[in-house]
Amino acid sequence: MLKLSALALAIASAFGVSAAIDGYAPQLGRATAAESAIQRHLAGDVQAIVPIEPASGLDPRKVDLGRRLFHDQRLSGDQSLSCASCHALERGGVDHRRTPVGMGGAIGGINTPTVYNCALNFRQFWDGRAATLEEQASGPILNPIEMGATWAVVIPRLEADPLYVAGFTASYDHGIEAASITDALAEFERSLSTPGSRFDHFLRGEREAITAEEKAGYALFVSLGCISCHQGMNVGGNLYERFGIMGDYFADRGDLTPADQGRYNVTHRESDRYSFKVPGLRNVALTTPYFHDGSVKTLAKAVILMARYQLGAELSARDTELVVRFLHSLSDPALEQDP
C-alpha cells in the first residue's frame, strides 16, 4: 500500500514538474482526468498496455532455419525476392512504400505491416484472414503479385541445398515440405519481439525512462481514447475495428479500392465493411507510411486523422506533437540503432 501511494505521488509530481517546465497547460478537466487515469493505470488494477515479455520456449534450430528462409530469394518465383525484401529487418520490418512492389514490378494492394512483434497479433493480415503465423507465411510466397512462387517450384530448389536438407532433417520428421517451411518461418517470426522500448521500462517501474513530454503524450493517448483500441501487449493488434467511426474516411479520401473493404472481403458481412485489424503501435515511428492504404507519410498526420475519424476530435498542433512524442517512446532502441 505504501509502495502504491509512493508511486502515485511520484507520478503526480512528475506531471507537476513537466507542466512547470514546458509551460504546457492542458485543458482543464481533461488534464486532471488524464492524470488520474494514468495513476489508476499504473496502480496496476486496470493496466491497458502490458510490457512485452521476451520470446521464450523457441527452438533455436528452427529459428535459425526460419531466418535463412526469410532472407532466401529462392522462395520467390523468379528468385528475385525474399520475405526480407519487403519486411526489411533493418528498416523497421517494412518496405516504406505505400504498397509493396512484388515480382516483376507488380504493385500490391495494401500497405506492408511490420514483422516485428507480429506473433502478438491475434490474427494476421490487415483483414485477419490468417489465424496463425504458419497460415500467413504461405500467403505472400504464393501470391502471384507478391513472390509469385508455388510449392512445387520452391521445394525442389531447397532440396538441392545440402544445408537446408541437413537443417530440415534435423528438426522435422518429414524434411522439406510446405508445412515445415512455414513452421520454420513462423518460429523465426516469433523470435522477432522487441521488449526493450523505453515505454516498456516505464511500465516496469522506471518512472524516469520516458520524458515529461512523453508522459504528457501518454496522458493524452489515454484521455483522448486512443487506448480503447490500442491496448494490450502490442498496443493494438488484438481486435477488428471499423475505420471511420466519427467521420467517413473513405468518402473524404476517394478512389475506393478492393482492399478498402477490409474484413468484408473475408466474411462478406455488411457489418465488417471498412473494418480492419487494429495495427499494433509497437515501433510505429519506424514503419512509415501509415494506414492500410499507406497514404500517410508522417506520424503527426496519422495521429490527426485517427483522432478525427475515430474519436471525432480535432487535435491542436501541441497535442499532436505530444502524442507523437509518446509514440516514439514505443520504439525499441535496438531497431532504432540500425541504419
Binding site: 484521455s223 481514447g225 480503447s228 491496448q231 471499423r242 473494418s275
Partner: protein, 720 residues
C-alpha cells in the same frame, strides 16, 4: 463300430471348438477397459470449462472497466479453438453409436465456439467505441460546464448536456433498450435547438459531445446484446453433455465387461461339469468294451503315436539343425574378420564376405581351390612353414605380409587352428584381420612421442650450450684486447733487433729504441697479461669441450638406429641422456649415478631405449618438482645399473611425491596422465612399457611409497 466312433470324435471336437470359441470371445469382451483416454478427455473438458468461464469473466470485467485490454480474451479463445481438435480423438473403447454421438457433440461444440468467437469479435470492436465515448463524454461535459472554454458563451447547452450525461450514465448502468428512446430525443432536441448563444468553440465541443452521446446510445444496446450472446452461448452446456456421454460410455464399458465376466465364469463352470460327466460316461463305456479289442487298439494307437512322435522329433531336429546352420552361416558372413576354412586336402571350403572384400576374390572363385593357389598374393611357402606346428596348438601370426587387391602391401594378423579329424591330414580354420592401418597408427604415435620429447629437450639443450658459449666469447674478447695491448711491445722488440744488427755504425738509436720498448712494456702491463692470458685460453678450451660434450650427447641420444637390436653400452647411453635432459631436472634435483662396472654391452634399440630413459627422468624430475614445490629444498634422482645373471637391470629412482594407491594400476594405461592438461599426452609410460616389453622382451615395474618417491625398474636380457 468304427464309423460311429469317428462320428463321436467329430461331434466332441465340434463341441470342444465351439466351447473354446465361446470362451475366447467372452474373454475378449472382459478385457480391462482402457480408461486413460477417458482421463485425458476429462482433463481436456475440465480445462475447456475453465477457459470458457474465464472468457465470460473477462468479458464482464472488460464491460465493467476492470480489464482494459483484450489480450487474455484472445489467448483463451485461441486455447479453446486449439483444444477442439484434441476432443476429436475418440477413446478406443467407444462403440460406433457412441463414437457418432460423440463426434456430433463435438461438432455442436465447435459451432458454438465459433459463434461465441464471432460474438466476442463484435463485442471487442463495439465495446472499444462505447468505452471510449463513455470515457470521453464526461470529461468533455465537465470541461464545458466547469470553466466554459469560451468566454463569450451565455448559452444553456452545457447544463442540458450535463442532464443528458447523467441520464446516459444511468442508462449505461442498467437501462433497457426502451430506456434509450427518451434520451435519444433529448439529444436530437439539443442538436436541432438553438446553439447560436454558445461561443463558437463551445458549439464545436457541444456537437462533439452530442456525437459521442449518439455513439453511446447506438453501441450500448449492441454491446449488451453481444454480452448476452456470449454469456448465454451453449458452450458450457454442450461440454456438460459431452462429459455425460463420456461418463456413461465409460460406465457402460465397465459394466458390460463385468457382465461378460460373470457369463464367462458360468460357461466355464458348465463346461467343467460337462467334461466331468463325459469322463464318467467314458469310464463306464470302457469297462463294457471287449478287453482284447481294447488292448489291440491301445497297442496300435500307441505304436501310431510313437511313430508320429518320432517323426515329429525328427522334423524338429531337422528344423533346429537348419536354423542353427543358417545362424552360423549368417555369423560367418557378417563376421568383421576374414574367415577361411579348408578340408583335409587343403582345399577351400569356407570363404566369408570379409575375405571377398579383403582379397578381391569372390566366393565362387575361391571355393574348391587349394589354399596354396587361392589367388591371395602372399608368400605361401613361408606361411606354411610357420604353420608347421598347427597340429599341436593354434598358431597366431601377427605379421603376415600380403598385397591388397589395389596393389598396396599390407599386414595381416592371422590365427589358424586345426579342425578335429580322424584322418591323418586335417582341415584348418584361418581367421585374419588386416592390421596395416593399425600398425601405421602405432608407428605414427611412436614418432609423435619421440618428436614431443625432442621438442621438449631442444629448449633445455639450447640453454645448456648458451652458458659455455657466453664465457668462451668473453675469454676471446679478453684475448683480442690483450693481443692489441701487446702489439706495440712486439713491434718495439722487432725494431730493437733491427737496430742491434745495425749497431756497428751508430749506437745512439739502440738506446733510444730500448727506452721505447721499456715504455711499451710498461704501458701494456705485460706482467698481468702473462699471468692471465693462459688462464683465459684454458677456460675457452674448457667451454668448447663442454659444448662438444653436450652436442655429442645429443647426437648419441638421437642416435639414428635402424630399429634393430644392437649391442649398446648402457652407461654411456644413459649418461648422454642425462646430459641432454640436464635442464629438465637441474633446478630441482641432483643426479646420483651408480653404474655397474661388470655390465657388458646389452642388446638394445638405442634410440627407443634412450626415449624410455628420458621419459623416466622427466617423470622423476616432475615428481620431485611437485614434492619440492610443497616442502622446498632439492631432491635426488638415483640412476643405477646392475647385472643379474643374464639380465641387465636399470633402476631410476626419485625422491618425489610417490604414486597414489588408486592410480597405481593405471599408470601404464594409454592416455592416463596425472599431469596438468597440455603438459603430457598420457602416452609416455604406455609407449615406454611397450618398448621395453615388446621390443626388448624385458619387464618394466615400479616401487613406490607415498611421500618418499618412486623407483622404476627396467630389466632386459643382455643377449637378445
Amino acid at each position: 463300430m468304427i464309423p460311429s466312433r469317428i462320428r463321436a470324435v467329430a461331434s466332441t471336437l465340434a463341441t470342444a471348438s465351439a466351447a473354446i470359441f465361446l470362451i475366447v470371445f467372452l474373454y475378449q469382451k472382459t478385457k480391462a477397459v482402457d480408461l486413460s483416454g477417458q482421463a485425458r478427455l476429462a482433463q481436456e473438458i475440465l480445462l475447456l470449462r475453465n477457459v470458457d468461464t474465464t472468457i465470460d469473466q473477462d468479458v464482464l470485467r472488460i464491460r465493467q472497466g476492470f480489464l482494459r485490454h483484450y489480450d487474455t480474451l484472445n489467448d483463451n479463445l485461441q486455447r479453446m479453438e486449439t483444444s477442439i481438435a484434441r476432443l476429436e480423438a475418440v477413446p478406443a473403447y467407444f462403440r460406433d453409436a457412441e463414437r457418432r454421438a460423440w463426434l456430433a457433440d463435438v461438432g455442436r461444440f465447435r459451432a458454438a465456439v465459433l459463434d461465441k468467437r464471432d460474438a466476442v469479435e463484435s463485442f471487442k470492436s463495439d465495446h472499444a467505441i462505447l468505452a471510449n465515448s463513455l470515457h470521453y463524454l464526461p470529461n468533455l461535459v465537465t470541461a464545458l460546464v466547469g470553466a466554459g472554454t469560451d468566454p463569450g458563451s451565455v448559452g444553456r447547452a452545457p447544463e442540458q448536456l450535463r442532464a443528458i450525461l447523467q441520464e446516459i450514465l444511468i442508462y449505461n448502468l442498467h437501462g433497457s433498450a426502451a430506456d434509450g428512446m427518451p434520451i435519444r430525443k433529448s439529444v436530437q432536441d439539443l442538436r436541432e435547438g438553438d446553439l447560436t448563444r454558445e461561443g463558437a468553440r463551445d458549439r464545436d465541443d457541444v456537437r462533439l459531445a452530442l456525437n459521442h452521446a449518439d455513439r453511446i446510445l447506438e453501441y450500448k444496446p449492441r454491446v449488451d446484446l453481444e454480452c448476452e450472446r456470449i454469456l448465454s452461448a451453449p458452450t458450457l452446456r454442450i461440454l456438460e453433455d459431452i462429459s455425460t456421454t463420456m461418463d456413461e460410455s465409460g460406465r457402460m464399458a465397465t459394466w458390460s465387461g463385468n457382465a461378460y465376466r460373470i457369463v464367462l465364469i458360468a460357461v466355464c463352470a458348465l463346461l467343467a461339469g460337462g467334461v466331468a460327466y463325459f469322463l464318467v460316461r467314458l469310464r463306464v463305456a470302457n469297462d463294457n468294451l471287449e478287453q482284447r479289442v481294447l488292448v489291440r487298439t491301445a497297442a496300435l494307437s500307441q505304436a501310431n503315436l510313437d511313430l508320429e512322435e518320432q517323426i515329429a522329433q525328427r522334423q524338429r531336429a531337422i528344423a533346429e539343425l537348419m536354423s542353427a546352420q543358417a545362424r552360423i552361416q549368417r555369423i560367418i558372413t557378417i563376421m568383421p574378420s576374414v574367415l577361411i576354412g579348408t578340408d583335409e586336402d587343403q582345399r577351400i571350403v569356407l570363404w566369408n564376405a570379409r575375405a571377398e572384400i579383403q582379397f578381391g576374390i569372390s566366393v565362387a572363385q575361391a571355393m574348391g581351390r587349394p589354399l596354396a593357389d587361392c589367388g591371395i598374393t602372399w608368400d605361401f611357402t613361408a606361411l606354411s612353414a610357420r604353420l608347421g606346428g598347427i597340429a599341436t596348438a593354434p598358431i597366431h601370426l601377427p605379421d603376415v605380409a600380403f598385397v591388397r587387391p589395389d596393389g598396396r602391401p599390407a599386414l595381416l594378423a592371422l590365427s589358424a587352428c586345426q579342425l578335429p579329424s580322424d584322418r591323418p591330414t586335417a582341415g584348418m580354420l584361418i581367421a585374419a584381420t588386416d592390421i596395416t592401418d593399425h600398425k601405421a597408427m602405432e608407428a605414427q604415435l611412436m614418432q609423435a612421442q619421440k618428436l614431443e620429447s625432442i621438442g621438449q629437450l631442444a629448449a633445455g639443450v639450447a640453454h645448456e650450450i648458451n652458458t659455455p658459449v657466453q664465457f668462451i666469447g668473453d675469454n676471446l674478447c679478453f684475448l683480442r684486447d690483450a693481443f692489441r695491448d701487446l702489439m706495440p711491445v712486439l713491434s718495439s722488440s722487432r725494431s730493437l733487433l733491427e737496430a742491434l744488427d745495425a749497431q756497428t755504425t751508430d749506437a745512439a738509436p739502440v738506446a733510444e729504441i730500448a727506452c721505447l720498448l721499456q715504455q711499451a712494456t710498461k704501458n701494456a702491463d705485460t706482467e698481468f697479461l702473462i699471468a692471465e692470458v693462459p688462464k683465459a685460453i684454458t677456460q675457452a678450451i674448457e667451454g668448447v669441450e663442454r659444448v662438444a660434450t653436450i652436442v655429442k650427447s645429443l647426437k648419441e641420444f638421437a642416435h639414428p638406429d635402424g630399429g634393430e637390436l644392437a649391442p649398446v653400452d648402457l652407461q654411456r647411453t644413459i649418461e648422454s641422456t642425462l646430459n641432454v635432459a640436464r635442464s629438465e631436472y637441474k633446478y630441482v634435483a641432483d643426479v646420483v649415478t651408480d653404474f655397474a662396472a661388470d655390465l657388458p654391452h646389452v642388446q638394445c634399440i638405442q634410440g627407443e631405449f634412450n626415449q624410455v630413459v628420458l621419459n623416466l627422468i622427466i617423470n622423476a624430475a616432475d615428481a620431485i618438482g611437485d614434492a619440492v614445490a610443497a616442502r622446498g629444498g632439492r631432491g635426488t634422482i638415483t640412476v643405477s645399473t646392475r647385472r643379474d645373471g643374464d639380465t641387465a637391470e636399470l633402476r631410476i629412482g626419485d625422491t618425489g611425491t610417490g604414486i597414489p594407491e588408486r592410480v597405481r594400476a593405471h599408470i601404464f594405461d594409454p592416455f592416463f596422465t596425472t599431469k596438468a592438461v597440455g603438459k603430457g599426452t598420457g602416452q609416455g609410460l604406455t609407449i615406454a612399457h611397450a618398448i621395453i616389453v615388446q621390443k626388448h622382451h624385458g619387464t618394466m615395474t615400479f616401487e613406490t611409497t607415498l611421500g618418499q618417491g618412486t623407483t622404476f625398474i627396467i630389466r632386459i636380457p643382455i643377449a637378445a
